[in-house]
């Protein structure tokens, strides 16, 4: 509904809002699906670990080895990488998976909730016993009535609870038993997940491990440590006497870089979604990822922001929809919207390239304009459909070249292609040169990969391309035999020549000739073919990898305002603070504050005045001087009354205002009390002095 406020009637706000929502929902479910697929392996491993971990508990074996071995607590060390913001989602889906397949008894603990062992036990029991209530729904009212604080917060009550719960499931009606036992084990393990193991205090962890190891025979406990750094942290947090109580197995999640690659692959390099990211925007998102946090969640959030921003700020984004809806939407465009389109720079370029009658028709007749728009947008869609396979194909070539002139990842190549004509860059040039030196087996495998890409792509124009590539492949095969012969001939003949000539002069001469001839030698058939292949790929690139902003109407589907995104995601609090204090007009929009840089307006908030004055001082600020300067500035308003006030006593109110401003500055971290001189404060920032 915010959409409507900004561009009231002309913007089809309602429709844009709905489109945006549905698009986002689609993308969201897609990302969740991707995440699920990526985590599947990890969760399967964890699941089998949990099943295995207490098999002895299930069987109640009395074998000698089992009796002699100390019972360790099965522990999964789950290394998740430094992208802490992603962990939450992983844990949520993990506990969901476990709940569905293995055990209903799961407790998720966070370090911030457990400063002491007591809090940890409370949290643990609360979660476990509640989950029991959830599972068994409202059947046993009496259990619910046992209030939380009446249960003794100790391991014994936990064990009693566990016994009662498992006994109950055993004695249930057969029908129900079947359903529960099909999903869970007979005595399901109790899983305790430490989300952020590094932040737990060592004492709490140690105590918990020691306590639970005492009862491991009665309570089948499994620990899962969520680790952000390296599994060595377990040994540095826990002394040997404690870690010897654990039976630690390591599980590693997929690195977030690979996760991102998959996300980019599935969300951006596809014609499935009408919305596209411009080069700068994508670069900002990727940079935040690589330089700051490695967080895929933040990347997706950024992507969401792009979508919202695009649909919010671009009235024409109403046309950014699936191809099936396009015709209807184009036809229902209002006149204002048509004008909006005419104002688009890319459309104006398009108009200028047309013949004059057509230009007039485009600029005056809405109906003709709509037809053209539809055609152009369809072209754009086809462009996307073709763009992706060709990009992948080019990536097959560039990703195997030494030193990766165009980048190792497909996202780098994508950015390069979006930025400008990739074939005009130096990197592309060197790529081609390197590609012309590829050996045959590599070339053949690459061509095969390209064929696969084109065959599986949805683009309709690639039949010919596939044919051509296949033709290359057969030619390579034919060459194989002929080439072998030729090679041998050449080497034999040259060797013979060498043997004939014996004296030094002639030898030198023949060697020179040989070298000369090799340089200007006619290319072998293989080399010719290789050139052809590379040229053909080059032509594909020139045809299909035209940068998007050369396309007409690209503004409709591409979000390109990177500055907005950067402002939202990559905030610079220091600069913002400085601006606010130095130039309050920037935020307050009060005309009275609008002033030219140098002077200090007395209408500014007190803190701004104090801040500006403090900028002029050195490392140590004399509070008395500062107060005097402050009162001078403030008093400057009451020009005539100045005489009265200028008596050496400073007004109490002004004094109080000054003190408040100073303490606010202290709170913001600009100054601190100094121990060197009692009536001075020390500056903590250097800026401007």
């Amino acid at each position: 509904n915010d959409f409507r406020e900004r561009n009231n009637d002309s913007g089809d706000a309602e429709l844009r809002f709905v489109t945006c929502q549905s698009l986002w929902n689609k993308i969201k479910s897609e990302t969740e699906q991707i995440q699920e697929d990526l985590n599947k392996q990890l969760f399967d491993n964890l699941g089998s670990f949990l099943r295995r971990s207490h098999s002895e508990f299930q069987e109640k074996t009395t074998k000698w080895t089992c009796r002699m071995k100390s019972r360790e607590i099965p522990t999964a060390a789950l290394v998740l990488g430094v992208n802490v913001t992603d962990h939450d989602l992983t844990f949520r889906s993990l506990s969901e998976v476990l709940q569905n397949n293995i055990t209903p008894y799961i407790a998720l603990l966070e370090a911030k909730d457990c400063p002491g062992i007591k809090n940890l036990m409370q949290k643990l029991m609360g979660q476990l016993m509640n989950c029991y209530i959830d599972v068994e729904s409202l059947e046993d009212e009496d259990y619910v009535q046992v209030s939380q604080n009446r249960i003794r917060c100790s391991m014994t009550s936990l064990i009693n609870w566990y016994k009662s719960v498992t006994k109950k499931t055993d004695s249930e009606t057969p029908s129900k038993k079947r359903t529960s036992s099909s999903r869970h084990l007979q005595s399901p393990p109790v899983v305790v997940i430490f989300k952020d193991m590094e932040s737990f205090s060592t004492k709490v962890l140690q105590d918990f491990v020691v306590i639970s190891s005492q009862h491991i025979r009665e309570l089948p406990l499994v620990l899962i440590f969520g680790i952000a750094t390296s599994p060595m942290i377990i040994h540095s947090l826990l002394p040997h006497s404690v870690s010897s109580l654990l039976c630690i197995e390591l599980f590693q999640s997929l690195s977030s870089k690979e996760h991102l690659s998959t996300i980019i692959d599935k969300l951006l390099l596809t014609a499935q979604f009408p919305f596209k990211l411009g080069e700068k925007v994508l670069q900002v998102l990727i940079n935040i990822f690589l330089y700051h946090d490695f967080s895929v969640q933040n990347f997706i959030k950024g992507f969401q922001l792009c979508i919202v921003e695009h649909f919010y700020s671009q009235p024409l984004s109403v046309l950014c929809c699936q191809l099936v809806d396009l015709k209807k939407r184009v036809n229902s465009l209002s006149h204002d919207q048509c004008e909006n389109i005419r104002r688009l720079p890319s459309f104006r370029r398009y108009v200028e390239s047309q013949v004059s009658e057509k230009q007039i028709a485009l600029l005056t007749a809405d109906s003709f304009l709509k037809e053209t728009i539809q055609k152009l947008l369809e072209d754009l869609h086809v462009y996307h459909e073709n763009y992706v396979p060709v990009l992948r194909c080019l990536h097959v070539f560039t990703s195997s070249l030494p030193k990766y002139p165009l980048g190792k990842q497909i996202r780098e190549l994508h950015c390069a292609c979006l930025e400008n004509r990739v074939w005009e860059t130096k990197e592309y040039e060197s790529c081609l040169q390197l590609a012309r030196m590829l050996n045959k087996s590599d070339l053949v495998t690459m061509l095969q990969q390209c064929v696969e890409i084109f065959v599986s792509s949805s683009g309709k124009e690639f039949d010919k391309t596939v044919e051509k590539l296949k033709e290359f492949l057969t030619q390579f095969q034919k060459l194989e035999v002929a080439e072998a012969f030729q090679e041998r001939d050449v080497s034999v003949s040259s060797q013979k020549e060498l043997q004939k000539k014996t004296d030094l002069y002639h030898l030198q001469k023949t060697l020179l000739e040989l070298k000369e001839s090799r340089r200007s030698k006619k290319l072998t058939k293989f080399e010719m073919l290789r050139f052809e292949v590379v040229d053909y790929i080059d032509s594909l690139v020139r045809n299909y990898l035209v940068p998007a902003d050369h396309k007409t109407l690209h503004e409709i589907v591409y979000f390109n305002t990177a500055s907005v995104l950067r402002g939202h995601l990559n905030a610079a609090p220091r600069t913002a603070l400085h601006t606010a204090l130095n130039n309050p007009y920037c935020y307050l929009k009060n005309q009275a504050l609008k002033s030219d840089g140098g002077s200090i307006s007395n209408k500014a908030p007190d803190i701004c005045i104090a801040y500006k004055l403090h900028l002029e001082c050195g490392r140590l600020i004399n509070l008395v001087d500062w107060l005097e300067a402050f009162s001078t500035v403030v008093m400057a308003v009451e020009g005539p009354n100045a005489d009265a006030a200028s008596s050496d006593q400073v007004d109490d109110i002004i004094h109080a205002r000054f003190i408040r401003a100073v303490s606010e500055l202290e709170l913001l971290g600009f100054i601190k009390p100094s121990k060197q001189k009692t009536d001075h404060v020390a500056r903590l920032t250097w800026g401007g002095c």
Partner: protein, 374 residues
Amino acid sequence: MPNLEHPAYPSATLLHLESLVPCRESQVSMLLSIFGERQQFSFPSIFIYGHTSSGKTYVMQTLLNTLQLPHVFVNCVEYFTSRLLLEEILIQLQSCSSETKQTSHVPCDTFNDFVRLFKQAVVSRELQDQTLYIVLDRAEQLREMEANILPAFLRLQELTDRNVTVVLLSEIVWELFRPNTGCFEPFTLYFPDYSIGHLQKILSQNHPPEYSVDFYAAYINILLGVFYMVCRDLKELQHLAALNFSKYCEPVVRGEASERDTRKLWKNIEPHLKKAMQTVYLREISSSQWERLQCDDREPGQLKGLSAHTHVELPYYSKFLLIAAYLASYNPVRTDKRFFLKHHGKIRKTNFMKKHEKISNLDDEMGTTRDGSS
């Protein structure tokens, strides 16, 4: 070997007890003589200390259980607050005294309440004329509770006027317990570490039923030869022995060697144990993984330990921030300005070189001059 003798208990029980606590006979007989006969008052509090796994808990438990002395056994780590601890003691008292009904638990917040409730509980017991033992394992935790808990436990007999003895088990010496205000001094008893001979004896006692004692003792001998240098923890050694025994038996099972063929067996097991020392013992790989490796007969090299994953990938800026923070932690605070600011004022080179150690003075000067000018 000092045989356990005590007039109060039948000699068969004592003999059984002796077989259960090898290498701890002297301590047990000492304890028995302190305990006296069942109805006799014993020393009010006994403090037993000794290194990890020197058998304190085990000896106390077996002693009290075999002689069927009434007792309460509480681990102070598990009951981490005084309230939990006291309530647990009362609950255990109730359950061991009256088999009739499980009364709902009574809140017990202070030691005063505890003494009152304790008296009630003991009165209701049939066995009033027996000494009751309260064993507090990991007693060092008591120091972190309220200040009155430890002294009160030490003189519980006096406070309750009942026949009760408190036994404290700890890994640290009594001197570290003694509160500043002074308290009743308990009888202290030291459990020395097991020697290698003791370990050998204790470990060989629990031999698997399928194999003879001698065979297992030879195995334990080899095991101790490898591990005694690094580990004297009985529990850990027992665990390791159980883990690796199947590997030791392998040649016998396959029929390549007889049980007497010690040299062959040694050759088979020794490198294996050394590997175990580097991996399982350090918890580099877990014992269940180790067992699976043994079953599959693979090289443990294939399985990477925890320390193999030390590589941490960091985002670009975080990496440099971390390095910079590390480097900057070596700079004195006063030099920040000169290192990080573009226009930090002139430093006279000769002066700087000469008075390198007097940087702070120089900075002070500069500060004052600027102050004066502004």
